[in-house]
């Protein structure tokens, strides 16, 4: 057998454990990119089976193959392309009835399909039984029981894929519908039942034949006529556009509802024949939901959970961070002595130690905080709680004119604004999407965390954690207020159409979480190695170069000149110090840069360490920068323009420079006003 590459597409409903299964094959060894032209995530991995290389592609989770959402369109186009050899349809076997709808649609596509019955461990736990002999007979495709979590059946599944790849459309099926066949008047009914798993009622079948004929006559080369005919009858915009005829008058009416109905009738038939004991559902999810989605307690419980997440992020994170700082101190000292020992130019030593190590290293010490935050978000997501938040928050979100679902991108904004803005794609209504995108950057992302930690620990002592946590609350409040004001301006009717699946609760899967967190940590490290590295170097040059060339007096540098011209704008906020202004400007590249710039600007190596902090604090205090100034700075950092990566994402998602511009102006204004209020009121009180 010659070596060849087989492309396997993983398709399935959301929450069917598809990603866990995919990860079980590929490990963390993924290529993550976007689908060409759209910002839907594309994951790819490879594995070897005997002599063959399998290229595995994880397609977006979807309930059906219509083209209502971007995810569905992407999935369908990719499956239809020549690239995919075999489809693995991943189904949650414990909720088979709902999952089979997509299965029937996939079978109709005419490509080789293998059904992976995932979560078989849960099926057994609940005392359910699935007739693994009858099910493949009725569907006409191989059905392999697997458990992605327990890693059982994986070998058999990939074996089935390898052997099913050459399945030809129309190969005879062995399944019996004798009653139906006797009653039917359709001329080819016997043939149909041998060829297709899903056979419709006579009048639908007649229409399918009629449309197929028309397609064949008008468009010579159409693969899988039956599927195209069905799609045209379902009023599928894309297929109708690809094969234009006067379909409305040919069809007389819309068959979509009938087709869906008949598919579910067949699914009910399958369930009756193949699944035993399905009424015995797990009670545990209902018990947990009694508390977590309680009409009154749901909201306080959610707030407690979020508070706990941040408590962990700050306390445990800071504790580990201490060790990172000691390591960084030692490393910087070693490098400095090492470089001085070999008589390196003192400017170069300064660039490396005061520029790169102070900037990049300072950011790296926050890795434990970031790690814990993303770990917590991953656990909330994987356990099944995240979807409940949409329900819990639906009432409040409804008041500001958004669906509870819009709250999910906002929560993700606590992690990173870029994926959060992209997650707004789950909202169908374009207006809701735009609003959500505009307010999401107010949610305090993890890049702002270093700023809070640094300034709150320098100025707030025991209250540091409260001060930092207040930023998250403030960000949330401002986001909600902003959405409310937009609703007032917009005056459109509330089209709150919340519809979201609430998966069964489960113990989070360590592997899935590891893959997720590692991806984020890698991102963070890459950022530290690229943007922050560059920004730290630029900052060092701006600080050490002046109109007269290299200068040791920072007051004469270009940086000071730039900062000083903008000082009047920031003075009313208590931020009228050219170093701070410069750090804020640099922070537009990335918020962490505010911290790394402070290290460089004030010439303090390892600014996040205890000695560095007290050093910076005393420098700032000698300049008259106190508690109120620090809080105003934190507020300003929370609310002002997000990082360049976010701006680029907003531009791409809204496809509009206008709205990106509106967002920037709105945020600068809000940040300035809020910091102004904090400083003026704070100064009057304290």
């Amino acid at each position: 057998m010659s070596k060849k590459e087989l492309t396997v597409g993983f398709v399935g409903n959301p929450n069917c454990g598809k990603t866990t299964l995919f990860n079980a094959y590929t490990g963390a060894n993924l290529k993550v990119a976007n689908w060409p032209g759209v910002t839907v995530e594309k994951k790819e991995g490879a594995m070897r089976f005997h002599d063959d290389t399998f290229r595995l592609v994880d397609l977006p989770g979807t309930y059906s193959l219509t083209s209502y959402t971007m995810e569905e369109t992407v999935t369908r186009q990719y499956i239809l392309s020549d690239e995919v050899d075999v489809i693995v349809d991943v189904a949650d076997a414990s909720a088979l009835e709902r999952n089979l709808y997509l299965t029937l649609q996939l079978i109709e596509l005419g490509k080789p399909v293998v059904l992976a019955l995932n979560m078989m461990d849960i099926v057994q736990e609940r005392g359910m039984e699935i007739d693994l002999h009858r099910l493949p007979e009725m569907l006409g495709i191989p059905c392999v029981p697997v458990s992605a979590r327990k890693k059982t059946g994986l070998e058999i599944l990939i074996h089935a894929v390898a052997h099913h790849k050459d399945k030809v459309l129309g190969e005879k099926l062995i399944h019996h519908h004798e009653e139906e066949e006797k009653e039917s008047h359709h001329k080819d009914v016997e043939e149909h039942h041998k060829m297709y798993a899903m056979v419709y009622s006579d009048d639908v079948e007649d229409k399918i034949d009629e449309i197929s004929e028309l397609l064949k006559k008008n468009y010579l080369k159409v693969d899988n006529l039956r599927w195209h005919a069905i799609k045209i009858m379902e009023n599928d915009v894309e297929i109708r556009k690809a094969y234009p005829l006067d379909w409305d008058s040919i069809l007389e009416r819309d068959y979509e509802k009938e087709i869906i109905n008949q598919k579910f009738s067949f699914i009910e038939e399958i369930m009756a024949e193949c699944v035993v004991n399905r009424s015995r559902k797990a009670e545990s999810t209902d018990r947990i939901d009694r508390v977590l989605t309680h009409p009154v307690w749901g909201l306080p419980v959610f707030l407690l959970i979020i508070a706990f997440v941040f408590f962990l992020t700050f306390t445990v994170g800071d504790w580990i961070k201490g060790y990172f700082e000691i390591g960084l101190d030692n490393l910087t000292a070693m490098v400095r002595t090492g470089m001085e020992a070999i008589h390196t130019n003192s400017l170069l030593v300064s660039l490396v130690a005061d520029g790169i190590f102070a900037g990049v290293g300072g950011i790296l010490t926050f890795l434990p905080n970031i790690f814990i935050l993303f770990l917590a978000l991953a656990i909330l997501e994987d356990s099944g709680y995240m979807a409940r938040v949409a329900y819990v928050m639906d009432g409040i979100m409804g008041k500001i004119g958004l669906s509870g679902r819009a709250f999910l991108p906002m929560i993700l904004g606590f992690g990173c604004t870029v994926p959060a803005v992209m997650a707004s794609r789950v909202l169908e209504n374009p207006k809701d999407r735009l609003k959500t995108i505009l307010v999401t950057p107010f949610m305090s992302c993890s890049a702002r965390l270093p700023i809070y930690v640094l300034f709150s620990e320098m100025f707030f002592g025991d209250m540091a954690m409260v001060a930092a946590f207040s930023m998250y609350v403030l960000g949330l409040v401002v986001a909600i207020l902003a959405a409310f004001i937009m609703k007032m301006i917009d005056k459109s009717k509330n089209s709150n159409m919340l519809l979201i699946e609430l998966p069964e609760y489960k113990t989070p899967n360590a592997h899935t979480i590891w893959v997720y967190v590692w991806e984020k940590v890698k991102d963070y490290l890459t950022k530290a190695g690229t943007t922050i590295f560059l920004a730290s170097m630029i900052m060092w040059f701006v600080m050490n170069l002046g109109p007269q060339g290299f200068t040791t007096n920072m007051d004469q540098s270009f940086g000071a000149l730039i900062g000083k011209t903008l000082v009047p704008v920031f003075a009313p906020l208590g931020l009228g110090y050219w170093q701070i202004v410069l750090a804020l400007i640099a922070g537009i590249a990335q918020k962490e840069v505010v911290v790394s710039s402070c290290s460089v600007l004030f010439g303090i190596g390892n600014v996040t360490g205890a000695s560095g902090m007290s050093g910076l604090a005393s420098v700032l205090e000698s300049m008259g920068f106190g508690v109120v100034n620090a809080y105003a700075l934190m507020v300003f950092c929370l609310l002002y323009v997000p990082c360049l990566a976010t701006l680029a994402t907003v531009k791409r998602e809204t496809r509009s420079w206008k709205w990106t511009g509106v967002m920037v102006c709105m945020q600068l204004l809000v940040a300035w006003v809020m910091a102004f209020l904090v400083f003026q009121i704070g100064s009057a009180v304290f």
Binding site: P295, D394, E428, P503
Partner: protein
Amino acid sequence: MKLNEGAKGSRLKVLHMDLPVQTERRLEVLGMLEGTVISVVNRKKKGAMIIKIRGTRFAVGEQITKNIEVEPV
């Protein structure tokens, strides 16, 4: 009666949906068809609900539940 009047724990049969076609189709592909029996798992005062369709829980907003005609089973 309308779905949003359904009590927690009740089992209801869907009679008719008066929703935008797209929303209706989305519900249909999830298995909520005319004639399907669903159950109300949890509800809020205004009519946002957690319902169970063919063994799967969904959260649905009041704008949807108040436009679905049901009858008790």
